[in-house]
């Protein structure tokens, strides 16, 4: 028993897929709608959420989501290993990256596009270590953080799903991603975000 479990763990370690959900202004509502589709059973990937937030808002988002959902929602601490079926929320005030051994790491270096966490930083790091096992979702936001990161994802064969800017509360962020790429895998309505992502895990 113990044996088969450790094998499974090792195996999932090298095959784990990650959905990286990035957004800013107006993104919480989109995230909520997205998460209404999620259950422990159907989430066969790890979901990592990068939202711009004021520092000091602490883990309110984590508490709120934990109460609303029947999926495990974890606040990210440095060194936490990724597991599928779990939702991870990046803390305000730190950049969030993924190490080669599939543990999450945090960093306090300069803000990028006035943001920490920055979507650019996470998209670059996650795509570096996951290649085509990364599914990036970019939704509503009022600056163009994420556009450079999306280029890295695309170059490394990850999937890119963008919320249709016409539906976004703030369309700069999704529009910037679309403009920065030759080809976006999917531009979809808010309602279709989950279904589209789920095709890949």
């Amino acid at each position: 028993m113990a044996n088969s479990r450790s094998i499974e763990k090792k195996d999932s370690h090298s095959t784990i897929k990650v959905v990286l959900f990035c957004g800013s202004t107006g993104a919480i509502e989109v995230l909520e709608k997205f998460l209404m589709n999620v259950s422990q059973k159907n989430l066969r990937a790890a979901l990592v959420v990068i939202l711009h937030r004021k520092t000091g808002t602490r883990d309110l988002l984590v508490r709120y989501l934990n109460e609303k959902l029947n999926v495990m929602v974890k606040a990210i601490e440095h060194g936490v290993p990724l597991e599928k079926g779990v939702i991870y929320i990046a803390p305000a005030g730190y950049h969030c990256m993924l190490e080669k051994d599939m543990t999450l790491s945090l960093d306090l270096s300069e803000k990028v596009m006035f943001s920490r966490p920055s979507a650019d930083v996470s998209l670059e790091s996650f795509s570096y270590n996951l290649k085509d096992r990364l599914i990036a979702i970019i939704v509503s936001g009022a600056n163009s953080d994420g556009a450079d990161g999306a280029k890295c994802v695309s170059r490394r064969n990850g999937k890119i799903i963008v919320q249709n800017p016409t539906e976004a509360f703030a369309k700069t962020m999704p529009s910037a991603v679309i403009d920065s790429l030759d080809k976006v895998d999917h531009i979809v309505t808010t309602k279709e975000l989950y279904k589209t992502a789920a095709k890949y895990f």
Binding site: I76, H78, E99, S109, E124, D148
Partner: protein, 275 residues
């Protein structure tokens, strides 16, 4: 930006070896992703469009040792960052520290000194400052020099001030500095009992008889193996029942020395040596 630059794992290894050989700086214990990011940033800053170009740049020693360390390490800090931690120290830990005739506190990785100053202010407000010695160490001598000066941007004081109040500060933060030409110079009294020493946690010696060690936001830059070594160093440096404070997003839970520590506050990462 860095989006178009790329370095492979092997190239990052190369960098680690080069900086050790040519600059005498050992980055081998550092967390890889943030190191990779800092290297990409430095390459971009120096207009090196490939790792080969960057290697050439490094090999010709166009940077001083200090500069390389400065560019790679991250020194971000604030006063009263995570105010709950300071509030907890004031409300729950000071009463224990008070029982010692002389209080030794070690700030490991103190950067430009905002953290020791924050604590100095609270210690002063509780009549403990004069019998406290704060040992402030960092691997980077440039940030230590700034810490010694105690001069900061005035506009930062506004954010600091809100957190000072939320930490339970008794006065107004502006009582502790003099404003001049957009800068804030902290009162000398706060730094009187601070000792600044360059010290590398990775191969450095232990200190003696510390009642409290604060080492926040340094572990995020170290590999798990290094974190364990540094924790060993800390435990050896603490008096029995001494306090250890890590960053709020760091954790000793995965460490090999956990059994020697008691968790005082899991959320705030406040630990205590068992005996």
């Amino acid at each position: 930006m860095e989006a178009l630059l790329e370095i492979s794992e092997n190239e990052l290894d190369d960098f680690i070896q080069l900086s050790d050989k040519l600059y005498g700086i050992d980055f081998s214990g550092y967390a890889l992703e943030s190191l990779r990011r800092r290297v990409l940033r430095l390459m971009q800053l120096k207009s090196c469009d490939s790792f080969t170009a960057f290697k050439y740049y490094l090999a010709n020693q166009q940077l001083s040792d200090e500069e390389l360390l400065n560019e790679i390490s991250v020194n971000t800090t604030e006063m009263f960052r995570d105010f709950e931690v300071f509030k907890f120290l004031k409300d729950e830990v000071f009463s224990v520290l008070e029982t010692y005739p002389r209080i030794n506190i070690w700030h490991a990785g103190c950067s430009t000194g905002q953290e020791p100053l924050s604590l100095a202010i609270l210690l002063k407000e509780h009549g403990l400052l004069r019998r406290t010695v704060q040992y402030c160490t960092d691997i980077n001598s440039e940030v230590l020099a700034q810490a010694k000066k105690g001069i900061y941007e005035l506009k930062e004081m506004k954010d600091y001030s809100a957190n000072y109040i939320r930490s339970g500060g008794a006065m107004s933060l502006s009582d502790y500095y003099v404003a001049n030409y957009g800068k804030a110079k902290m009162n000398r009294e706060l730094g009187k009992n601070m000792v600044f020493t360059k010290h590398n946690l990775i191969n450095g010696t232990s200190f003696n008889q510390m009642h409290m060690i604060m080492c926040r936001n340094v572990f995020i830059y170290l590999t798990t193996a290094q974190q364990n070594k540094v924790l060993r160093l800390f435990i050896d440096s603490l008096v029995p029942r001494g306090y250890l404070i890590l960053g709020v997003k760091e954790s000793a839970v995965f460490s090999t020395v956990l059994n020697e520590l008691e968790i005082v506050n899991g959320k705030l990462k406040i630990y205590r040596k068992k005996r």
